[in-house]
């Protein structure tokens, strides 16, 4: 049975401009082991904010879960105000994450953009432990927004780009990727234009994680659908919350 839990804030740290790392503790964490899955957070008592907010798991350690998020609006602002000891109601783990089963001894590329970076960290840790070689390319708008570079460096190569050139290489992640060779497989998470560019650029098998505004987060409301690329697909659509958020790069239409 799926359930919800009041998870307890262990720690909250600002790690970049408007970007926070939050550690939560609770029983539900014991069910979390698939990178790319997400948790669905209630904002306040859920009366002013009736919709939960989907945030990816960035790391899992015992009964502690790490998430990293950027303040975008009222919900993430509320999250950023939580302090150690506060409770946050969570549904988790939801969706299907990045497939990692039986993947080893492979040259893997991780591509993250902005707040698409966090789930790749948990993924990278797992893939590294399974004996893969990792290269990570992280794209940010500007220097102030950069986070987790050091952590990814501990997993393998890590190249950072900023759009304005204020840190790392100037430009987009795709500028860097074009120079990478010997990649057998990739995983990407970030803004849709980035996912589109990356999946067009790389021909090896890849998995991408999508975002969409969600209602239920569990597959019941049809808020978060996208079309399949295969016109003969029986359903013709996928629900991002339930079938995703991770899909094979060639499965769904990116708009």
């Amino acid at each position: 049975m799926l359930t919800k839990e009041d998870m307890i804030v262990v720690k909250q740290v600002r790690i970049a401009k408007d970007t926070y790392e939050l550690i939560l503790e609770g029983e539900l964490t014991l069910q979390m082991n698939e990178p790319g899955q997400f948790i669905h957070l209630q904002i306040g008592n859920g009366r002013e904010h009736v919709l939960r907010r989907p945030i990816s798991m960035a790391d899992v350690n015992g009964n502690q879960l790490t998430i990293v998020y950027r303040i975008m609006g009222a919900g993430t602002k509320w999250l950023a105000e939580r302090e150690a000891g506060d409770a946050i109601n969570v549904l988790a783990p939801l969706g299907n994450g990045f497939p990692t089963h039986a993947i080893s001894n492979t040259n893997i590329l991780l591509v993250g953009g902005g707040v698409g970076v966090p789930p790749l960290y948990y993924l990278g840790k797992k893939l590294k432990a399974q004996g893969n070689r990792l290269t990570t390319v992280l794209g940010f708008q500007t220097k102030d927004a950069v986070f987790y570079e050091q952590r990814f460096r501990e997993l393998g190569d890590c190249i950072v780009t900023t759009n304005d050139g204020s840190y790392g290489q100037t430009g987009f992640v795709t500028d860097v990727i074009s120079g990478l060779t010997e990649i057998n497989r990739y995983y990407a998470c970030g803004p849709t234009p980035m996912l589109k560019a990356v999946s067009q650029q790389i021909s090896v098998p890849g998995y991408i994680s999508l975002e969409e505004r969600m209602g239920c987060g569990v597959g019941a409301c049809f808020a978060c659908v996208c079309s399949t690329i295969d016109g003969n697909d029986k359903k013709g659509y996928r629900k991002i919350c339930q079938d995703g958020p991770v899909f094979p790069a060639n499965e769904v239409v990116l708009v």
């Binding site: 049975m1 799926l2 359930t3 919800k4 209630q42 859920g46 009366r47 002013e48 904010h49 009736v50 919709l51 939960r52 919900g75 549904l91 969409e212 505004r213 969600m214 209602g215 239920c216 987060g217 569990v218 597959g219 019941a220 409301c221 049809f222 808020a223 978060c224 659908v225 996208c226 079309s227 359903k235 013709g236 659509y237 339930q242 708009v255």
Partner: protein
């Protein structure tokens, strides 16, 4: 406490049912609790052929509410009967099928297929979906069209028919009386109000459909007022809904004139909201001095001769 309530076609263990479109076809929430706990289950709207619905984004949050413009996405009535209803029939909980269409023919086709499937206990005629260009709201704002549609659907259906009313009309009482006269066995109200939210960066509506249906606690006062008024002018039962989140809300709906209460948006906030409400009902009702659901309904204003009609519609 006895929470049971009997409505046309529906023998309910309790007055709580999920609202259409907020519970899919039941599978997802069955991962959270045993659906046998529910009074009934309303499934997502069915249309003749499958529909993909509107482009995304389809939802946006508002203060104490949300907008949706799903656009009646569903796999079509045949697939629903073949692939979705069998799962629900494993529970001892009556199923209400919400039906929609672009034309009277589509509505009657859907009604016929569903009622003949033997897998649903009642139909809910959705003439109030604000999110599709055709197939819903035009029937919901014109009493003559609504009555004609109700009559046609009744004639092909072997289960009771509830008509789901739109709040986006000036004369809801006229509409209610028209569909009652046309043979409706009950009413469902309310569907969503039409609303919009803009993206401040782009200046454009957040929903790709521009407008969407407003649901959640924000609309409860509008729903309560409409049910209070309509329940005084019809003799068929009303399934009330709009912003229900707790047992107190259920009591308010019963006192306003509803006989059962549907929960929509709150399922998204709290997937366990329906069983939690059902658990809380006995204590809540007795705190307020009621000893059964029937008693709340009997004590509601619609059975109070002193409760004079409100003249404004």
């Amino acid at each position: 406490m006895n929470l049971a309530i009997s409505l046309p076609g529906l023998d309910m263990k309790n007055p709580i049912l999920p609202a259409s479109g907020c519970f899919g076809f039941g599978k997802e929430y069955s991962q959270f609790y045993d659906l046998n706990q529910l009074g009934a289950i309303t499934i997502k709207a069915a249309t003749g052929n499958g529909r993909y619905g509107n482009p995304t984004p389809r939802v946006a949050e508002t203060s104490a509410g949300m907008l949706n413009a799903i656009g009646l996405q569903n796999p079509g009535v045949e697939a629903i009967v073949a692939e979705e209803l069998p799962f629900l029939s494993t529970f001892h909980t009556p199923v209400i099928a919400n039906i929609a269409g672009s034309t009277e023919e589509e509505y009657t086709h859907v009604a016929k297929v569903l009622s003949e499937s033997g897998l649903v206990s009642a139909l809910e005629l959705n003439i109030s979906c604000p999110n599709v260009k055709e197939g819903g709201i035009q029937f919901g704002t014109d009493p003559v069209l609504a009555a004609s549609l109700t009559r046609k659907v009744k004639s092909v259906s072997n289960v009771p028919v509830y008509v789901k009313l739109s709040p986006n009309t000036g004369d809801l009482k006229g509409m209610a009386k028209a569909v009652e006269a046309a043979g409706a066995d009950g009413l469902s109200m309310i569907n969503t109000l039409i609303g919009m939210k803009l993206d401040l960066q782009t200046g454009k509506p957040i929903l790709s459909n521009k407008t969407g249906g407003l649901s959640g606690p924000a609309i409860k006062p509008v729903a309560i007022r409409m049910i209070y008024e309509v329940s005084q002018v019809v003799h068929i039962p009303i399934i009330g809904m709009g912003g229900v989140t707790c047992a107190e809300d259920v009591l308010e709906y019963l006192l306003a004139g509803a006989s059962a209460v549907a929960v929509g948006t709150a399922n998204f906030t709290n997937p366990l909201v329906c069983p939690e409400i059902i658990d809380a009902l006995p204590e809540t009702l007795s705190n307020y001095g009621y000893s059964s659901i029937e008693e709340c309904i009997e004590r509601s204003h619609k059975n109070d001769p002193a409760s004079s009609l409100i003249s404004r519609s």
